[in-house]
């Protein structure tokens, strides 16, 4: 388990969802958590690599880490 795994307050599993499902799911979860909480997003959609980065910058949230596994990406986003 990595440091970021331990810190994730909530996980959104959007694997299998087509664009823009993963980003929509992430936005929905960020709504529900508190400032400082970390949301882990699982996505196997390549587009998430740009979508998630663009939105987190726009919204002022912090994209702490992006991990690539064999079949999906894991994004760690801290709510500002």
């Amino acid at each position: 388990m990595t440091e970021t795994d331990r810190d994730a307050t909530a996980t959104v599993d959007a694997r299998g969802a087509a664009c823009p499902g993963p980003l929509m799911d992430l936005i929905g979860k960020i709504r529900d958590v508190e400032s400082g909480d970390v949301v882990r997003l699982l996505s196997d959609n390549e587009q998430s690599l740009t979508d998630v980065r663009e939105w987190t910058e726009e919204a002022g949230n912090d994209l702490l880490d992006v991990e690539e596994t064999d079949d999906h990406y894991e994004f760690y986003v801290e709510k500002a």
Binding site: A17, A18, P20, G28, E54, W55, A59, G60
Partner: protein
């Protein structure tokens, strides 16, 4: 032994499925080997696409209502009741009035979407919608007397019913104010949660230049966090604020709590195999329409096509044959681009949409389909 199929929900998915089963399983129903029950908490079937036209004074909510008993085949047992819990291990149901069956062999959930404006502070007080009968009537009161100011259409909740409707609304409003000579006095802004104007990139790319041409302002990456009804502003998760004179919002949507309580999925959406529509967390449970979390639009056409798939699969299972029917993501939508022109899209999991050039004929086709929808509900079209 009689196999009992219970369909929960009297919207497009549930009604088309019940009628499909009545037709498909006719011999088994006649022999008493199968029983089909439709449980709905409203004695009426409601055709929601009518609501888009209500704020413009073109339709009445009553145009979208008909009694279920007029639409559902007599071989289906219709029970007006609300299912309050599902035990998917024991295959048992509980209901508010005790009129719904307490057991099932096969369960199909078509419980649909509900609106959750309370998730956004101030939205219920400060915003309007055309996603409910009461909302579309209240919006009509405002819109018919709105002659100047800033009209903001904000898509807040996703997924939401009829993904094209927010675009349709601003295209119609633009045309409607122009025809009445008021457009110079009315600013229109459309907001969307992600970096384009529609979830589907092909529809987004098609719509954006049309919005620019028609002076419909666009705000993207716009996720409303709260609404100030007194100050008439929307504040976003992105830290921006937008003033409005009339706010038309697509509120957050949820399925019904029952789904989450039964462990079938989050926020009322059932986790399903997107091709077989079988629930992932339970045996002998299907979901269709908005209720099924497939990632395709929450649209009547989707519920309609999925009902045919679930009907075929249930009939196969009841007859002891392998179920082979699958849902391919097929979706059809007419998209109004004004008060007398519309486009049309058709797509599935593999083939993206390519919106047709807007025309008056497609607008008439949409209005004609809205009338003939009642044949769809009956399982005839």
């Amino acid at each position: 032994m009689t196999e009992h199929v219970v369909v929960v929900g009297g919207g497009t998915g549930g009604t088309v499925l019940a009628n499909d089963l009545a037709e498909r399983l006719e011999p088994e129903l006649a022999a008493g080997d199968v029983q089909v029950t439709l449980v709905a908490d409203d004695p009426d079937h409601v055709y929601k696409p009518v609501w888009l036209y209500v704020p413009f004074g073109q339709r009445e909510p009553a145009d979208g209502r008909r009694p279920l008993t007029e639409l559902v085949d007599d071989r289906v047992d219709v029970r007006v009741d609300r299912v309050t819990s599902i035990d998917t291990d024991a295959q048992r149901l509980e209901s508010r009035d005790g009129a719904a069956p307490s057991e099932y062999d096969y369960l199909a959930l078509a419980t649909g979407s509900t609106l959750a404006p309370d998730e956004i502070p101030g939205l219920a007080e400060g915003g309007h919608d055309f996603y409910s009968e009461s909302g579309s009537e209240a919006l009509r009161e405002e819109l018919l007397s709105f002659t100047e100011g800033h009209l903001v259409l904000s898509v807040i909740g996703t997924p939401h019913m009829c993904p094209a409707a927010p675009l349709e609304f601003v295209f119609m409003a633009d045309d409607w104010f122009r025809q009445r000579g008021l457009r110079d006095d009315v600013d229109i802004t459309y907001t969307y949660p992600i970096q384009r104007v529609h979830g589907n990139p092909h529809i987004g790319e098609w719509a954006r230049p049309r919005m620019d041409d028609r002076d419909i302002a666009v705000e993207t990456f716009f996720n409303a966090e709260s609404v100030d009804p007194d100050g008439q502003t929307v504040a976003t998760m992105e830290g921006t604020e937008l003033d409005y004179d009339l706010l038309v919002a697509i509120p957050p949507h949820r399925g019904i709590d029952l789904v989450e309580e039964a462990g079938l999925g989050d926020r009322g959406w059932v986790d399903v195999d997107r091709e077989t529509l079988e629930a992932e967390a339970a045996e002998n449970v299907y979901a269709l329409g908005d209720t099924a979390d497939t990632g395709v639009p929450n649209a009547g056409s989707v519920a309609h096509y999925q009902a045919g798939v679930v009907g075929q699969r249930l009939a196969s299972e009841i007859r002891g044959r392998p179920a082979t029917a699958t849902y391919d993501g097929k979706t059809l939508c007419f998209i109004e681009t004004g008060m007398d022109a519309a486009s049309f899209v058709e797509f599935d999991y593999e083939n993206p949409p390519s919106p047709a050039p807007p025309s008056q004929k497609l607008h008439w086709a949409k209005l004609a389909y809205n009338e003939s929808y009642w044949l769809t509900a009956r399982g005839l079209l």
